[in-house]
Symmetry: C2
Subunit: 417 residues, 2 copies
């Protein structure tokens, strides 16, 4: 990595990343099945298909009366339809009765529709005459206020792709489908080797000339934050054999290796030599046009990325975010990220009109898409009881309290999941 | 919470939050001392002061020669200063020698300056004549390329405030100061009570009319994400005594209680009655002008927040982010958040000129401040080896590869920590 005059050749960050990712796929951690309550933040290692239809029955989405919609056609405030109250549906039970024409049953949100009816009229649009009779003040169409059996998920349909990082709502969806164990990648293990004759452990007094080991602690936090497991391999003296032996051992028990420090000129070259001597392709870049972080070394040995990080704490942070986090995400099995993970609220243009009542702050599930350099949020219209609304969504667009809605092309704030 | 006509009165989200936070401070979890490698993401429960000066010695920030700056004054390429190489400083050791006038010592980044010198000349600005003599081609001022003893942190100075969420760089800073245990709040425990006669556990088949427990799994993930510990208390039948007894028990072992479901009309009122019967002040709001999430109930009982969440999975998500996350952060002891935690990259105007070389992507530590509705990023100028640069910073401003720098008022992208 030296030019004709023997000087270190610096390459841009993008080029360095390109050299790294040309070596992908990297060696991956093994897969395992974890119980659902330990799955948060893990990454699926196989597609998840629905084992059954969800819901398994026609379910009411409102509190009201289950009706045959045809009995309500033409009903108005001044000319209501009069229907007979036949029963009240108990929650969690299959209604044994079958309703006949002009009969209704009282039903709560989540209740199962009995046979003979196809819609639910909300309480607000009814008036009770006595124990046995109600007036219907507004018609309903077939299927209105009802989630049909299989409407949320059909047996065999794709619920989550392989390589998906499990968010809270994904775990809820799996629970809803009765999936209590999920196949995921183990978290990648990342070895941290601190080098430098001047470095002493954090729990020891630093004598004049010595400094305590800062970077292995910072890196442990960054690795945890990126979903990995940090393995702190201790502080190594600046000797070729010591560093080489520790790297060789780390190649056996981790999916990536970070060597920090090596601040003296000789050590930088020593780190590069160790990486080159370990296997192929070895060092990919040594020096990046980046400040701080210029002395950064990146390499790959038989599918395992190895990084030589500068000793400065700030550079460690910058280099981690630029180079190591994306590599760790690749190792961890993360695929098709839903959107830039570095931002959690974004401005976007709304892709369809949303009507809304003023005096209500409305949150609408959206998917995000970039079109000609602009971010668009496409509302997912669906019944709010559908769990797949949430697994599909990248976030929610907010229609503020004092608005009647938003028109296609309006800017909205999207809270990402 | 009903109006004159007996209708449920809806209040805006901001008003509901105001009612909740008027009851703060809430009952906090206890405090504990955790080892540094378990401290990531925990919240400090006491101010952290520096136990010593950092560094404890004058340290070089570059590879070069330690010199007496006066010996270099006036040195140029054509008229260099000739100085004698007296020694090479070993890393991690206190140099025993004292340099006299016109003497230099070879020193690496991080090395300790010997007595008799006050600056370091970078290798690039020297030319070695032979084993004993160098030419200095550029003068240095006193203290140049040196971090003075105590410059990073002075003994007794404030390193981290109480109520600060520990980021990777904070943990590194503590390690650097030799602090290997840190006093933090325990993570808040949050009880989740699922109610509804129609709800069955996720590992059981759902018969017609039944649905599996989705929300307690979604909430567990959201609580973990917000830094809490979810305690799933099982699925309760819709009976006043059963819900009351479970709430009473949860008041003993958790700092917040979430009651989900209660989709039938009677249950909503039952949840509110349980909260009111438990203690003061009881229910604060019942119904919010929000979609989804209208039936949301919020209350406080003797310092413990209790929420009644609607049964719809989407509403659970929206209500958690709007009401429960900020309350959990308050319970967890989080104070003075550095900036909106929901965004991780922001656009800001730079508060001072930064000069930069093109061909280099430069990352500069900044603090963020809102002034007259605009976000400003103020560069933290300091030597890049200072760990306090990172603990002070809210993020790093990026000066792109092809720029000579940025002028005060220019828009920059800031990556938040």
């Amino acid at each position: 990595m030296r030019d004709m005059l023997g000087r270190e050749e610096l390459i841009p960050v993008e080029k360095a990343l390109e050299l790294l990712f040309n070596c992908a796929p990297f060696r991956s951690p093994s897969t395992t099945v974890v119980p659902l309550d330990q799955a948060y933040g893990m990454i699926t290692s196989a597609d998840v298909l629905s084992p059954e239809d969800l819901p398994s029955f026609n379910r009411s989405t409102v509190d009201g009366y289950a009706v045959n919609s045809a009995d309500t056609f033409g009903a108005t405030d001044s000319l209501p339809a009069y229907l007979a109250i036949r029963a009240e549906i108990s929650m969690g039970e299959m209604p044994s009765l079958s309703l006949k024409q002009s009969e209704v049953a009282k039903i709560a949100t989540g209740g199962m529709l009995p046979e003979g009816v196809d819609a639910v009229v909300m309480f607000e649009h009814t008036q009770q005459i006595d124990e046995t009779m109600i007036e219907i003040l507004k018609p309903v169409s077939p299927g209105e206020n009802v989630i049909q059996a299989g409407e949320d998920a059909q047996q065999g349909s794709l619920i989550l792709k392989s390589g998906h990082k499990l968010r809270p709502q994904d775990i809820g969806a799996l629970a809803g489908l009765g999936i209590t164990g999920v196949q995921v990648f183990e978290r990648p293990r990342v070895s941290i080797l601190s080098t430098g004759d001047e470095i002493v452990p954090a729990d020891e007094p630093a004598k004049p000339g010595q400094v305590r080991d800062i970077n292995s602690y910072t890196l442990s936090g960054l690795i945890l934050n990126a979903g990995g497991i940090p393995l702190r391999k201790g502080i190594l003296k600046d000797h070729y054999e010591i560093i080489r032996d520790s790297v060789a051992q780390s190649l056996k028990d981790s999916e990536a290796i970070l060597i920090t420090g090596g601040s003296s000129v000789g050590t930088k070259d020593m780190t590069a030599k160790v990486i080159n001597d370990m296997g192929h392709p070895g060092v990919l870049f040594h020096g990046v046009s980046l400040k701080p972080g210029k002395p950064m070394i990146g390499g790959v040995v038989n599918g395992t990325p190895i990084f030589g990080l500068p000793g400065h704490p700030v550079a460690v942070h910058v280099c981690f975010e630029l180079f190591i986090r994306p590599v760790l995400e690749e190792i961890a099995g993360l695929k098709g990220k839903r959107f830039d993970p570095l931002t959690k609220t974004v401005k976007a243009r709304i892709g369809k009109n949303i009507s809304s009542s003023p005096g209500r702050e409305e949150h609408v599930g959206v998917t995000l898409e970039e079109r000609e350099g602009e971010l668009w949020a496409f509302p997912i219209f669906g019944k709010s009881g559908l769990i797949t609304n949430l697994t599909l969504a990248d976030g929610t667009a907010v229609v503020p309290l004092r608005k009647f809605g938003v028109q296609e092309g309006d800017m909205v704030e999207v809270k990402l999941f």
